[in-house]
């Protein structure tokens, strides 16, 4: 055999060898990865929505059955129909819409201010250890302190004005957001930072391309808790700080119901506050969180 043919033959053999390796590897890859087949959207919607809706219907039915069978005093134990009637009345004279609009506006605005303040503060604490050591315990402490405790002080400082309400909301939300971000950054695996350095990232690139995205789940948890604390603090502040130039919110509606001994109205308002909390969670935080976790292969507690 002439030498050229020999070379060509061995090159061809090397080629088939490389092709074999490719096919072999593709086969192994297919064996080792399973294809996820997502459920159709309507199936997921039914799976997610049906159980809680059924539970609510069952609870309402039990409540109504109790009022019909046991016949309790309507001023101490109103039935679901009484509560619905009270809400309808508040709707008709416009108090309900006003209260929902006022509270939501304050809650959302207060939360956004808390995000704007808490995020840079959290970043500063996460990246600068001396500051974290100094301020960390204080922020954790503030998170435990019920922000209602600030209401009397806020009234003395700012009077019965919107500033009082916002102050209390911020004192409730900022520590949660800061803590969430600090915890998120602290939980970034050191190996990822090492990889970033090996890849030649500068300090700024390391922060923006590696650390911050890696800390997003912790930050989001902080935001969720921050929103919960804003909403709670807001209700507390509205109940206690009543009158003056403070607008009419859901807390004020509760307080008015208490003054009028209108238990049906009070229960109705509680349900509205609860429902708003759930709606915000379902419409805003849950989809963001689900997307974030699914993209990272961290399927959270909820399917």
């Amino acid at each position: 055999m002439p030498p050229e043919t020999l070379v060509a033959a061995s090159a061809a053999a090397a080629d088939t060898h490389a092709d074999d390796l490719r096919t072999l590897e593709a086969g192994l890859d297919r064996l080792q990865t399973d294809v996820e087949r997502p459920l159709p959207w309507w199936r997921r919607a039914i799976d997610g929505v049906l159980p809680p809706v059924l539970l609510v219907i069952v609870l309402l039915a039990a409540w109504q059955a109790y009022t019909v069978i046991a016949q309790p005093r309507p001023d101490l134990a109103p039935g679901p129909l009484d509560v619905a009637a009270a809400l309808g009345e508040a709707w008709n004279d416009g108090r309900l819409q006003l209260a929902v609009a006022t509270s939501l506006e304050r809650g959302i605005l207060g939360f956004l201010i808390a995000v704007a303040v808490g995020t840079p503060l959290g970043l500063l604490l996460a990246e600068w250890a001396p500051l974290r050591r100094a301020l960390g315990p204080l922020i954790s402490g503030l998170q435990v302190l019920p922000s209602v405790a600030w209401v009397p002080a806020a009234i003395l400082w700012f009077g019965l004005s919107d500033a009082t309400v916002y102050f209390v909301v911020l004192m409730g939300a900022i520590p949660s957001i800061v803590n969430g971000l600090v915890a998120g950054v602290a939980q970034v695996p050191p190996q990822l930072r090492r990889v970033g350095r090996v890849l030649g990232a500068s300090r700024l690139e390391l922060a923006t391309s590696v650390v911050l995205p890696a800390a997003l789940p912790g930050y989001l948890a902080g935001l969720k808790q921050g929103w919960a604390f804003s909403w709670r603090s807001l209700m507390a502040a509205e109940i206690i700080a009543f009158g003056g130039s403070i607008g009419f919110g859901l807390g004020s509606l509760l307080q008015q119901g208490r003054d009028l001994a209108d238990l049906a109205g009070v229960l109705g308002t509680i349900l509205v506050i609860l429902a708003l909390g759930i709606v915000i969670e379902l419409l805003v935080f849950a989809p963001v969180e689900r997307g974030l976790l699914r993209r990272r292969g961290l399927t959270g507690g909820t399917p």
Partner: protein
């Protein structure tokens, strides 16, 4: 014709604190460009420390380290960024290492590198959708993206099953021949070292020294089950055991 070595270490020693034991003791090592060197030793012999020093992740207490350009590193864990797809992970290395490359060129280059490790179809998958072996191949593509002469590998296949590891040995050998990189491969697996290296260096433990070296004839394709690999493994294992026995006394 003598060429400048890709890596030259002379008298490299390391101790973590003045009073702590010596981890590395007077390591001399020269690696030629395009060479495939396996660094073999028992756990705790300081081979990863040595790799860290060559990678500039750590500094030597004494001695000099010269590396041609900087080195790319691959770890035991793939350490991909879990929120980025395979392609974007490779692109990140291109963005951080070669800022001059425009975005479409980065994308094309990333796809090219993924095709080199036979992962063109998985480019848009995220790390959690890939198997361990596929993740390590993405990590290999990412290390190659840095376009550095020297590639350091720290037990990159230690966490994989034997079948996958066997295929990745072939894959790595092919990529090495195609790209002509200089590779320093750290492992505690004798057969792996005998299978892959052109030169196998055995390190002793406490203190870490290079105690022997074997040159492997690189004329025909090797397999982990080749008699040549087995014979060399037996020889290396015997000396490795003698080194470990020294520590028992």
């Amino acid at each position: 014709m003598p060429t400048a070595p890709a890596i030259r270490l002379s008298g490299v020693s390391k101790r973590y604190a003045a009073a702590s034991p010596v981890v590395l003791d007077g390591i001399d090592l020269t690696v030629a460009p395009g060479e495939f060197v396996c660094l073999l030793g028992a756990s705790g012999c300081g081979k990863s420390t040595l790799l860290g020093i060559i990678a500039c992740l750590d500094t030597a207490s004494a001695g000099t380290v010269e590396v041609e350009g900087r080195a790319a590193v691959m770890f035991q864990e793939a350490s991909l960024l879990p929120w980025l797809s395979a392609r974007r992970n490779v692109e990140l290395a291109l963005r951080l290492g070669r800022a001059d490359l425009p975005r479409p060129a980065r994308r094309a280059r990333a796809l090219e590198l993924l095709d080199l490790v036979n992962l063109a179809d998985a480019a848009e998958k995220r790390p959690h959708e890939l198997s361990g072996g596929m993740r390590q191949r993405v990590a290999l593509a990412r290390a190659l993206a840095q376009d550095r002469e020297v590639l350091l590998m720290d037990e990159p296949f230690a966490a994989l099953d034997a079948i996958t590891r066997d295929l990745l040995h072939e894959e790595l050998e092919r990529v090495w021949r195609e790209t002509g990189r200089t590779i320093v491969f750290v492992t505690h697996n004798v057969r792996e070292a005998a299978r892959l290296g052109q030169r196998v260096l055995l390190m002793s433990s406490r203190p870490g020294r290079i105690v022997n070296e074997w040159r492997v004839a690189d004329d025909a394709p090797r397999r982990i089950e080749s008699p040549q690999v087995s014979a060399l493994s037996v020889e290396i294992t015997e000396q490795l055991r003698r080194e470990i026995l020294r520590n028992a006394a």
